[in-house]
């Protein structure tokens, strides 16, 4: 009886691993296929797409084309500037607002919270037409600042929502002790509450970063100029232009994938902990 049970559970586990391995392969294979073929000669890409690059087929012609013809270094720095500044703005402004909402009782507190939460469900894209009009009127089209402002507005609602949940958990005794010691409300926020909520801030940073780095819509509409193109838009237009040059397309895709992949592997535990907050301890 018991051996029979053990055998079925072993069978179950085996089947489960089989299903999970198959699905994992489906997730990884497309990316692996692109990366290995980006390092092969054109002939090898077509004759043996599944093979790893060997001494005979190894060829970096695609990368040479991308680096000489494209402006990927510029695109990367644009993406870094836009994403980096937006994250700092979202975290700072978001944490400040979250502190105000969670710490003080004032008239309209709940209403303000609801107002700021609207943006979690209503996508900012729906206001694009008016946003473009504002950017044209203030001459912020084709600037980093224009994108940064839009992404800050986009990131704030969720950041405020998550951070105010966390700030409610900071001990009131600690803050009151600081008040008795004569610390100003600003000092309490910057020196006490902000350091204590660092894990939550890191999680919000990762959540905020991904949609900004990957966005195509706003760069396409607000900053399509060569000087302000982000990596996502740059890769999109480069590939569109070189669509028949398979080496260049595969190399451009690989260059766009690798930084995201490296960052993801570095931060995946942080991200997963954030997504499963409370459940995984």
């Amino acid at each position: 009886m018991s051996t029979g049970k053990a055998r079925t559970s072993l069978l179950h586990t085996g089947l489960m691993h089989l299903a999970l391995i198959a699905y994992t392969a489906l997730c990884l294979a497309p990316v692996v296929l692109v990366v290995i073929n980006s390092m092969k000669s054109r002939a090898a890409i077509f004759s043996a797409p599944m093979a790893l690059p060997g001494p005979k087929t190894f060829d970096l012609i695609g990368f040479t084309t991308v680096i000489t013809q494209g402006n990927f270094a510029g695109y990367f720095s644009n993406s870094l500037i836009v994403t980096g500044t937006s994250i700092v703005a979202v975290l700072l402004f978001g944490a400040m607002a979250a502190f105000a909402l969670s710490e003080y009782r004032f008239r309209g507190n709940t209403l303000m919270g609801l107002y700021l939460a609207l943006g979690i469900m209503i996508p900012i894209r729906l206001g694009t037409i008016a946003i473009l009009n504002i950017m044209v009127a203030t001459r912020l089209v084709n600037t980093h600042l224009g994108l940064i402002l839009v992404y800050t507005a986009q990131g704030l609602p969720l950041a405020i929502f998550i951070l105010s949940e966390f700030m409610r958990q900071v001990s009131a005794d600690l803050k009151n002790a600081a008040r008795i010691d004569g610390l100003s409300e600003y000092a309490i926020f910057f020196k006490l509450v902000l350091p204590l909520t660092r894990p939550a801030i890191a999680t919000v940073a990762v959540f905020t970063m991904i949609p900004i780095w990957n966005d195509l819509w706003f760069p396409l509409i607000l900053a399509p100029g060569e000087a302000t193109k982000t990596v996502t838009l740059g890769a999109q237009s480069f590939i569109g232009q070189y669509v028949t040059n398979w080496n260049a397309v595969l190399a451009a895709l690989t260059l766009a994938i690798l930084p995201v992949l490296i960052l993801y592997l570095a931060f995946s535990q942080q991200l997963i902990r954030g997504l499963t907050a409370g459940a995984v301890k």
Binding site: H17, L28, F99, I134, L271
Partner: protein, 315 residues
């Protein structure tokens, strides 16, 4: 307690305005209001106007009447809306069940390699639509021939066709690509919800002889239904403002023959113009307003109907 009373006295003594609250709120409220709320309201307003000789003229609901009834607009609009429904239904019927199944397997206690599976399956979610769109476009390309040779290896070569190039299959193919990318989100959220189920509940079920698959469907799934609700509304909002994947894989014209046109791509073409048609800000705003109303309706249904019913279910 005496502390609180003391500070109450202090509040009464000093001027009632607590400026620091305004200072803390000001930057966030300013940016959010200027670039999110005002543009949204202004877009809704623009949908009620039309432009004649560079002047904005109030037009009532004429733009909406035109969008629904004038053949030049309505055919494309209903087509995009229908495609968007199909796009959403494919997500709901495939992404969520697959996500639940993966979460159920990952939440089995003492599973080896859990972290690896989790990290790998969530990876596509991190990539941009641009990368995902092009990667699948290359793989499904009949020129490269990777997809037919893989299908050949498992004896299914007869199934292969130029899926992204055929009117009959392009929309389904793109929906499945999007599902491939986003399965990680339902998987993660439901996985977290499954881990949060109290031990006692599971133990009580086991004492009653409810184990394995039966336990999952009778005990665990009902308990994680609120999370399934959240995933569904996130999917709905995401699907009804989708744009990037279609634009990357099929271009602004959402080919072949508009068979993959969604509201997002239709909005883009209307606003910016394409081929011989000039961009039209007011009709663009009208489509954006329709998207707003659709998303708002979805969110309302979720908040009122689903949430209240689920709360009752939980108790």
């Amino acid at each position: 307690m005496s502390d609180v009373e003391m500070s109450d006295d202090e509040i009464a003594a000093r001027p009632p305005r607590r400026w620091h609250i305004a200072v803390f709120l000001a930057p966030a409220v300013a940016v959010y209001t200027a670039l999110m709320i005002i543009p949204l309201i202004d877009t809704l307003r623009l949908s009620l106007f039309t432009t004649i000789d560079n002047h904005s003229v109030f037009n009532g609901f004429a733009n909406f009447v035109m969008l629904f009834t004038d053949g030049r607009w309505s055919n494309t609009f209903w087509n995009a809306l229908g495609n968007n429904m199909v796009f959403f239904l494919i997500h709901m019927s495939i992404q969520n069940p697959v996500g639940i199944a993966l979460a159920a397997m990952l939440s089995v206690p003492r599973l080896r390699g859990r972290t690896f599976y989790r990290t790998a399956i969530f990876m596509p979610t991190m990539l941009s639509f641009v990368i995902v769109g092009f990667v699948w476009k290359l793989i499904l390309s009949p020129i490269w021939g990777v997809a037919p040779s893989i299908l050949n290896a498992i004896g299914l070569k007869f199934l292969f066709g130029p899926w992204l190039g055929q009117e009959s299959t392009a929309l389904v193919t793109l929906s499945l690509i999007s599902v491939w990318q986003f399965v990680g989100i339902p998987m993660m959220l439901i996985y977290a919800a499954l881990l949060a189920i109290p031990e006692e509940v599971i133990e009580a079920a086991e004492l009653d002889g409810i184990t394995g698959v039966g336990q999952f469907f009778k005990i665990k799934l009902p308990l994680v239904l609120p999370t399934v609700g959240i995933v569904s509304i996130l999917t709905f909002v995401g699907n009804f403002n989708a744009f990037d994947l279609i634009y990357t894989a099929q271009g602004a014209l959402a080919g072949p023959n508009f068979s993959t046109d969604l509201l997002g791509t239709y909005l883009y073409r209307t606003f910016f113009g394409f081929q011989l048609q000039l961009g039209d800000q007011n009709m663009g705003a009208t489509i954006a307003t329709m998207m707003f109303l659709i998303i708002l309706t979805g969110v309302m249904i979720y908040l009122f109907a689903v949430q209240t019913r689920m709360r009752r279910y939980q108790l």
